[in-house]
């Protein structure tokens, strides 16, 4: 098992190298003189020169890349051009907000999609199936920012059941955290639950027609047990893959959801950094997001062993 994990980690190295190259290249894409652009319109020549010096822009590109990569590998993501704080510190401070939002969204999406997918998938063509299918199409088409605003309107303004904006850390108050996280997490998780529901429904329909399911039912196993033990466990494999792919969308979605609900997370940081032209911060956010996404997909790969003993490493 350890060897399998190591192999997977080794395979990630070339991918992460290309990613680092792409993230570094963002600086090169700035039209005109980057230092001039980053300094803003009313900067003095000294300020421009200071930025150029701080970013080491007087060196050849390859030297800059290697120096930057060396820093990143040692956990040095540079210094914010806006607040002069180390980028990593700012990100680490905000990461819990984004992670708790994304994790809660995943739990919500599973809590919606597993029952919906099983109900629709075990009764194809029924009224319930058609309702679930229509519901998941609508869930995919509704823009998440609009859904968030509608929820604020209905559940925070017209009926003040939830706070409209803000965030309470889990460590400070469990109830406060829950009240603040429900609407954003539902907003973020809805499109993922729509995709997962579609996937699970299709897989369940296929699995329920398999011989081993017929055998299990023929030998008198209770229907509930056939569905959960034989059908759902097999139908879950593609679902885990989709969930891994959805992590990327969820992380991206936090940008919008955190903005709407005024949550001090990574997504909000990304947007404000665009307006302050804080490129080191943007690069740090992108690196961190890719890191989390790659880690999740690694876990997804490893989880296949649980669902399917055939792919378990010897």
């Amino acid at each position: 098992m350890i060897r399998f994990v190591l192999q997977r980690l080794l395979a990630l190295i070339p991918l992460l190298l290309i990613v680092s190259l792409l993230v570094f290249s963002l600086v090169l894409l700035i039209p005109g003189d980057p230092a001039f652009q980053l300094a803003g319109e009313d900067a003095t020549p000294e300020e421009v020169e200071a930025i150029r010096e701080a970013m080491g822009m007087n060196d050849p590109v390859l030297v800059r890349y290697l120096r930057w990569l060396g820093g990143v590998l040692q956990g040095d993501l540079g210094t914010s051009l806006f607040s002069d704080q180390p980028v990593l510190d700012v990100i680490v401070e905000r990461l819990p907000v984004t992670l708790s939002l994304a994790l809660t969204a995943i739990i919500f999406s599973l809590a919606i999609s597993i029952p919906a997918g099983v109900i629709a998938g075990t009764r194809p063509g029924s009224l319930a199936d058609r309702l679930v299918t229509i519901g998941s199409s609508v869930g995919l088409a509704v823009p998440n920012f609009w859904l968030g605003l509608m929820l604020i309107l209905m559940l925070a303004i017209w009926n003040p059941w939830f706070p409209a904006t803000g965030y309470t850390a889990l460590g400070d108050s469990l109830v406060g955290w829950w009240m603040h996280i429900v609407l954003p997490a539902f907003t973020l998780g809805l499109s993922a639950s729509a995709i997962l529901t579609r996937q699970l429904r299709g897989a369940m329909v296929d699995v329920m027609e398999q011989d081993y399911v017929r055998t299990a039912r023929a030998k008198g196993l209770p229907y509930r047990k056939v569905v959960t033990k034989h059908a759902l466990k097999n139908a879950a494999i593609p679902m885990v893959t989709i969930l891994g792919l959805q992590t990327n969308s969820l992380l991206g979605g936090t940008i919008i959801v955190e903005q709407i609900f005024g949550m001090p997370g990574i997504g909000q940081l990304a947007v404000s950094s665009v307006f302050t032209r804080d490129l080191p911060m943007i690069q740090g956010v992108v690196i961190m997001a890719v890191f989390v996404a790659v880690l999740v997909n690694l876990l997804v790969d490893l989880s296949y062993g649980y669902f399917n003993p055939k792919v378990r490493p010897q």
């Binding site: 920012f145 609009w146 303004i157 032209r277 992108v286 996404a293």
Partner: protein, 290 residues
Amino acid sequence: MSEAVFNGASGSGFARLLRRFRDQRLAVWSLVFLAALTAAAALAPWVAPYDPLAQNLDTVLEPPGADHWFGTDELGRDVLSRTLFAARISLLAAAQAVLIALAIGVPPGLVAGLWGGRMDSIIMRATDALMAFPPLILAVALIAVLGPGLTNAMIAVGILLSPTFLRLMRATTMAVAQETYVEAARSIGCTRTWIIRKHVLPNVVSPLFVQISVFAGVAMLAEAGLSFLGLGAQPPDSSWGAMVGRGFRYISHAPSLIVFPGLAIAVTVLALYVVGDGLRDSLGREVRRE
């Protein structure tokens, strides 16, 4: 899309696709809706009841009524007229992003699928790396560098969508390249360009259309999200997403400011998805399996 593609496809897969598509009522109605919407957007200067920029400070933030069906905004401008004009920006932006994605994704997909070997593995590694990024975060990073604005935002979205087109082209091309008739064509000395035009393109047109329809919806959602954040359409231009973003501030006084443009996005995207589903169900069995 060149003439040759359509000619090559008309007798075979593409015509069959259209015939099967005609039988799907919901998908056909969605297509009709999209056509009507496009027409309304194109004819907005003539069909809109008011000038979308005309301010009237006597009628500020009015709820929907007989004079203003969708209400008025914070400057007394008619929301229905603004929604109609914003449709132009939203539709054009989605088309722009999809065209950029096609331009970036299709040629390397063809090359990777037909040439194979080292070229293929280099292209696929680059695609994997691109797909490792959370899409919206990469878009925001690109906009940070290029500067906020609709065109830059759509370039970013186009880049994000391109890997899927690339993979689709590669997979379909590879499947076609292994067919005996392609081998025969090659053995009698047909050039690669000829093989691409006569054998590969006609086979990829149908699955490509499915993906285009779905991605037009995805691009529209992405544009709406970015414009909502203020990173896409800039005033005085307004897309549906930008309208929701501006209406955000008046959410408790005039919910209609966000309800109508948001509904417009949701319904249009839903229509694009339904058309995509309809096209997918119309594909031949042999194509669908891939």
